[in-house]
């Protein structure tokens, strides 16, 4: 079997290209069926996220003869099913085979191949993609082993290195900061000032982060109402700010304003009314919505947009420092995986089958020869059998040595395919293992 990864990602293809291949969660079983039936895959998993659409597959080595062709066949089937022209994405398509495909899977699961390096969401998406494929019966021993190991490697990288630590977007940092103060956000009340693009985006992040109650206050009540309705929040007039401030744990300022609308006196008064419960204030406005003096008040945590950006930059810097160590760990893990599950298994099976096949031919020929030479002494018969065995061994010596050497050096795929083709050996993997429960 050949382990393949074929697809498009944010590295090579813009979103207009990626979206042509995109497979929604509900469509995945049908896409897998197409890949197995028309794409030449014996096993398949489809990973479709905002940043990539990739097919991981185990395909027979014999046909198509090269990995590139096998990858094109897979994506061609997917493209036809999607109703798109395979040629339109051919340039952006990357096909990886064998150890390179394994290493890529490990990098993807670990977040090393993500647009924002170290993001942790991909591990869950990777797990879901595998779960869907396993449930659809599209995985077998090769991809089960690959995905289970990739998930373990990804989890290990996230837990044991600083690659996934911290938040790497302004909205993410804002949510992370709120979590550092309040923990679970389901009991938190958030107030958003401003209903523009920044405000709406932040509102969406807060909703996704599980903030319990959301309110939007804006100078234009209609815009506040529209933004609130879109995010399931309540709309407030801006002149109700003193009351709203007292009732909120998290305030996000994204108002277009010439001067701060929140000053220390207003916050002091709100703190008294909220019996000094902590207040997190995130000022995303430029010019600032919140007087910097507010940050000096006890029980108030004020971050302006520069503070948030600085945290993002620091997070990315820390992650960069971890990349080399993570790449090394992944290379080691991928090589170990390939030694155990990759070529040696195929090469070993092919070698065994070849020996059995040629020895069988030798024994058959020896039997026929002895039948045509009656009256030979047992010792003479044995000498003939021994001669045939030596002939078989001499014929097999070089092919076997070459396959073993190539297997040890990590490049036996094509050779094994050639051996199977030349000697007519069946294309057969080890017995299937059940997917994990």
């Amino acid at each position: 079997m050949r382990i393949l990864c074929a697809g498009v990602s944010h590295r090579e293809a813009p979103v207009e290209v990626r979206e042509r291949f995109s497979v929604a969660a509900g469509e995945a079983p049908e896409a897998l069926r197409v890949l197995l039936a028309e794409g030449g895959a014996a096993e398949a998993v489809v990973l479709s996220t905002c940043n990539r659409v990739e097919v991981y597959a185990a395909t027979p080595l014999a046909a198509p003869p090269t990995a590139a062709e096998a990858g094109r066949t897979l994506l061609g089937a997917l493209a036809r099913w999607r109703g798109t022209d395979p040629g339109a994405v051919a340039k952006a398509t990357v096909v990886r085979e064998g150890p390179e495909a394994v290493r890529h899977a490990f990098r993807v699961a670990s977040g090393l191949d993500s647009m924002v390096v170290g993001e942790t969401q991909i591990l869950g998406q990777f797990r879901d993609a595998y779960g869907v494929a396993a449930a659809a019966g599209a995985t077998g021993p090769h991809l089960n082993a690959l995905f289970q190991r990739a998930l373990a490697v990804g989890k290990g990288i996230q837990a044991e290195t600083g690659l996934g630590a911290g938040r790497a977007s302004v909205a993410g940092v804002a949510v992370g900061l709120a979590e550092k103060v309040f923990g679970d956000l389901s009991g938190v009340s958030a107030l958003l000032l401003g209903a523009g693009d920044t405000g709406s985006l932040t509102l969406r992040h807060l909703r996704e982060a599980g903030v319990g109650r959301l309110a939007v206050a804006s100078r234009t009540p209609e815009r506040a109402a529209a933004a609130a309705a879109a995010a399931g929040a309540s709309a407030l007039p801006l002149d109700s700010l003193p009351e709203a401030l007292a009732a909120s744990d998290l305030v996000v300022g994204a108002l277009a304003t010439e001067a701060p609308v929140i000053g220390p006196d207003l916050v002091r008064s709100a703190l008294r009314r909220r019996r000094n419960r902590p207040l997190v204030v995130l000022d995303l406005g430029v010019p600032r919505n919140v007087d910097p003096a507010v940050g000096a008040l006890e029980d108030v945590f004020l971050y302006d947009v520069d503070d948030l950006r600085a945290v993002v930059e620091e997070t990315l810097r820390r992650r960069s420092a971890e990349i080399a160590a993570c790449e090394e760990k992944i290379s080691t893990e991928a090589a170990a995986f390939w030694r155990r599950h990759g070529e040696p298994r195929d090469a070993g099976a092919a070698v065994g089958e070849l020996v059995r096949a040629v020895e069988g031919i030798g024994e058959e020929e020896a039997r026929e020869l002895l039948a045509r030479l009656p009256g030979l002494e047992p010792a003479e018969q044995e000498r003939i059998r021994e001669g045939v065995r030596r002939l078989v061994n001499r014929i097999l010596h070089r092919p076997l040595s070459e396959v073993r050497r190539a297997s040890e050096n990590g490049g036996a795929g094509d050779l094994v395919a050639a051996v199977r083709r030349l000697f007519g050996l069946p294309e057969e993997g080890p017995p299937p293992r059940p997917p994990p429960g």
């Binding site: 911290g166 550092k180 923990g183 000094n276």
Partner: protein
């Protein structure tokens, strides 16, 4: 706990395990992968050794080993560790160990020094009232110890967040609200226990010691100051007059008073326990 060599060896081994656990807990807080599993296991092993030592001492003595300050220190270590292990197992707050375990080690050292200072020990405590007094006081101290640990973590986390450049440690510390809840919960548990300890102690002593004798005991005075301090703190926190950083600072200061009450007065040689016990006896 007397000078039984194997008991001393048991406590010595426990100290080594507690020290290892403190180092591992710190390593875990600093994000060292090798420290992830070891901290809890070494602490559990140390806790088992202290439990064994206390059980053996209780069996030999025929009563709880709380007659001297070193013994009381050990029981405090035992109860605080037990509470922490349960909390860590159910709520996973490994960072708390980074703060609590070094103080526990200091308590071990204090207990050892005090044991050297008063090698003769004290008569066994077999009076139910005195036992109740001691158990309630040590329970209160353990709760205040926990509040101290959560308070220190609150101050560190608050400083991280306020710095506007929180480091990786901020990701490994619990959220402020959680630490505040732990502190408040520990105060809510500790104050009633301290109240019971004081009332039972007064009642037990009133029959044998006069009011004048009690007023001359610095430990009694320190305990009253402690009670007043924590009662005020709890009242202010419940009313919302103080929260967060101020409560954390006050719990840290409060535990310093606890240590002064427990160990300090003993170093000064007030003989609180033995005086009461001696007076109890005919």
């Amino acid at each position: 706990m007397g000078g039984s060599p194997w008991l001393v060896g048991l406590i010595g081994a426990a100290v080594a395990l507690y020290a290892a656990s403190a180092a591992l807990a710190t390593g875990r807080l600093l994000g060292r992968p090798w420290a992830r599993r070891g901290a809890r296991a070494t602490l559990a092993a140390g806790f088992a050794l202290v439990t064994t030592a206390l059980a053996a001492a209780a069996a030999t003595r025929g009563s709880l080993p709380v007659a001297t300050v070193p013994e009381a220190c050990l029981v405090l270590i035992w109860s605080a560790t037990g509470v922490y292990l349960v909390l860590d197992a159910t709520r996973a707050i490994p960072a708390l160990g980074t703060v609590l375990l070094p103080v526990v080690l200091l308590l071990f050292v204090a207990a050892g020094l005090l044991a050297l200072r008063h090698p003769a020990g004290a008569p066994p405590v077999d009076d139910a009232l005195i036992l109740g007094h001691v158990a309630a006081a040590l329970g209160a101290y353990a709760a205040f110890f926990l509040a101290f640990g959560a308070g220190v973590l609150y101050l560190v986390q608050e400083r991280q967040i306020r710095s506007r450049a929180p480091g990786p440690i901020a990701d490994r510390l619990p959220p402020l609200a959680r630490l505040d809840r732990i502190t408040y919960g520990a105060l809510l548990a500790g104050l009633p226990l301290l109240t019971v300890a004081l009332l039972v102690g007064f009642y037990a002593a009133s029959g044998s010691l006069g009011a004048a004798d009690l007023s001359r005991d610095p430990k009694v005075a320190a305990s009253l100051v402690l009670w007043l301090f924590y009662a005020t703190l709890l009242g202010l926190r419940t009313g919302g007059a103080v929260r967060g950083r101020r409560v954390a600072l006050l719990t840290v200061a409060g535990f310093a008073t606890v240590l002064a009450t427990l160990v300090g007065t003993s170093v000064l040689g007030t003989g609180h326990t033995t005086a009461v016990l001696a007076a109890e006896r005919p």
